[in-house]
């Protein structure tokens, strides 16, 4: 059976849960999931993988796209062409996948969130999830994809036979790009990933002048304030308060989203919250597809009324 070569999504010693989506993708396509991993002790559920190839490279070297080309070429040289090269649509996968694809001139589709068996097409979002395209890959040879987090993990299955282990050694390094270190965001007083109740505001807030009243509402509710990218970009809230792909991933008990339309980049950072409540004046806003409760109204009016009720208490 042909194999899907999964490049592990690892960062700072952690094997990300997103890797399960890559396993699920292989299972859906009915190809063997093979994993390539850097050196180190990762918490991998090995029974998911037909073969695990550990590369003699440290993590930072491994996720350097220039070295990834060297690794992938070596695997192909040793084991033959895979059916597909599979990455997660994360900061690593988004960087490495197109680079490797370009080097090998392979077809590429990114941010894949579905597979239609009958037509053999891959589903990809465009225009911030406003439309989807069913894409067919043409021609010979393998292809490269990145998989959207959360879209295939429910399909991940353990295999029945034993996992085969391999080591990949004697790899050169491309010195033209070097990792110099991680930079943490400035120490912040509040960690939104640890909050039970987030009041999150988005583009709909309109102007900076509105922010203090949301802060007041948050304090009356006992919530921690956070925001989506547009609010952070405008510096209306500090970067440490950003929820979404390029900010924090949060899972509070309650996520109250006000004036957030629900762009994928934001939703991916909060969709696993226990309870999502969305306030938006646009009944068509995508956020309502993810929310458990929705209020279709002007966020400022809801805010003002809530403040009034809470003050009266």
């Amino acid at each position: 059976m042909s194999y899907g070569l999964i490049m592990a999504d690892v960062r700072r010693g952690l094997f990300d849960e997103r890797n399960l989506d890559l396993v699920g993708f292989c299972n859906v396509l009915n190809i063997d999931p093979w994993l390539i991993l850097p050196k180190g002790a990762y918490n991998v559920r090995e029974a998911y993988f037909k073969r695990i190839i550990q590369v003699e490279m440290g993590e930072e070297e491994f996720i350097n796209p220039l070295n990834a080309v060297i690794t992938v070429k070596k695997v192909i040289e040793k084991f033959g062409d895979p059916f597909a090269l599979i990455f997660s649509a994360s900061s690593s996968g988004m960087e490495i996948a197109p680079y490797v694809a370009g080097y090998l001139k392979s077809p590429i589709i990114t941010d894949v969130s579905g597979y239609q068996k009958e037509s053999g097409t891959l589903l990809k979002s465009l225009y911030s999830d406003k439309v989807f395209a069913s894409l067919k890959i043409k021609g010979e040879g393998f292809f490269v994809i990145t998989v959207r987090s959360g879209s295939f993990r429910h399909e991940a299955r353990e295999i029945e036979e034993n996992t085969i282990y391999e080591k990949l050694e004697g790899l050169t390094r491309d010195e033209r790009r070097r990792f110099l270190g991680y930079i943490e965001e400035e120490k912040q007083e509040v960690d939104i990933t640890k909050a039970d109740f987030l009041l999150s505001i988005g583009r709909g807030v309109g102007t900076k002048d509105e922010i203090p009243l949301y802060e007041e509402l948050a304090s009356l509710l006992g919530a921690t304030i956070s925001g989506s990218r547009p609010v952070i970009d405008k510096k209306w809230l500090p970067k440490s308060r950003q929820v979404g792909t390029s900010g924090k991933t949060v899972k509070p008990k309650v996520y109250l989203a006000m004036g957030i339309s629900g762009a994928f980049q934001h939703v991916s950072g909060m969709k696993d919250s226990e309870c999502i409540i969305a306030v938006n004046k646009d009944p068509e806003a995508p956020i309502f597809q993810y929310a458990h409760y929705g209020i279709i109204a002007d966020m400022h009016k809801i805010r003002d009324r809530l403040i009034q009720i809470l003050r009266e208490k």
Binding site: G102, K130, S134, Q289, Y293, I295
Partner: protein
């Protein structure tokens, strides 16, 4: 320092509901205005800042139909020294084909450059592959999601790239290299209509994309366009403000986060 910046003209779709034509044959963009891709605007600004500081020249390049000249004029008005259109029927949809055409163009026309800048992704197709794919073909070092350029050194550049959860990575790359630029890296300057009018007087070179497409065809095909799957919708609270607020507070109480 010479920097090539690739720019894409895209439909401005943020405020629109997109319509799919027929049985999923195409997306109707006929009523939408077009603009420069947001990410590319940041890339262009960053390139111009780099040459303002280090000296040199920015060349703005766009692949697409003749209307893409709009974004080139805008780029010249902003501070690019040159604008080049690789003219095709439309912007090529397949990211592989697009990058191959760009790489052949760069090689064939013999550009001398220290860096290539692109936006991290385009607002329309959101492939996010152009810079990386191009770097791969050209076998040049690559960094994506660049949120700061810290130092242009002799033969190298120090950058920060954005990772998840507010974490950043500091990277040193040798030149020439390809950088894909993230939004928020700078505050792009305003380009006035009169500035664009003045820029129109500077000639933009046109190259036919067919010159760089020999023996290569699109490797992906759209079989069908569809709307996103409707998930099980939210329970909508009452339409009157007061009722909705009181019900909301009740839910918060049940969830144990607010008395």
């Amino acid at each position: 320092m010479n920097i090539l910046v690739f720019l894409k003209r895209v439909a401005s779709s943020q405020e629109e509901e997109l319509k799919i034509l027929g049985e999923g044959e195409a997306v109707d963009l006929s009523r939408l205005p077009f603009k420069l891709n947001d990410w590319d605007n940041y890339a262009l600004e960053e390139a111009i800042r780099a040459v303002e500081k280090e000296g040199g020249h920015v060349i703005a390049i766009s692949l697409g139909a003749k209307e893409s000249d709009d974004v080139l004029r805008r780029a010249i008005a902003m501070g690019a020294g040159e604008g080049i259109l690789i003219l095709g029927e439309e912007a090529l949809f397949d990211p592989r084909l697009r990058a191959i055409v760009a790489s052949r163009f760069i090689k064939k026309e013999g550009f001398n450059f220290d860096a290539i800048f692109t936006g991290v992704q385009a607002e329309d197709d959101q492939f996010g592959t152009f810079g990386g794919y191009l770097a791969g073909i050209l076998e040049l070092p690559y960094v994506s999601m660049v949120v700061a350029i810290e130092e242009w050194g002799k033969g190298y550049v120090l950058v920060r790239r954005e990772l998840e959860g507010g974490l950043m990575e500091k990277v040193k790359v040798s030149l020439p290299s390809v950088l894909s630029i993230q939004t928020g890296i700078n505050e792009p300057r305003y380009v006035s209509v009169m500035g664009i009018r003045r820029a129109s007087q500077i000639e933009r070179k046109i190259y036919e994309s067919s010159l760089y497409m020999e023996g290569v065809i699109s490797s992906i095909e759209v079989l069908k366009w569809s709307y996103p799957p409707k998930k099980e919708g939210a329970k909508i609270l009452p339409y009157d403000i007061d009722g909705a607020c009181r019900e909301l507070l009740q839910i918060l109480k049940e969830r144990g986060v607010c008395q």
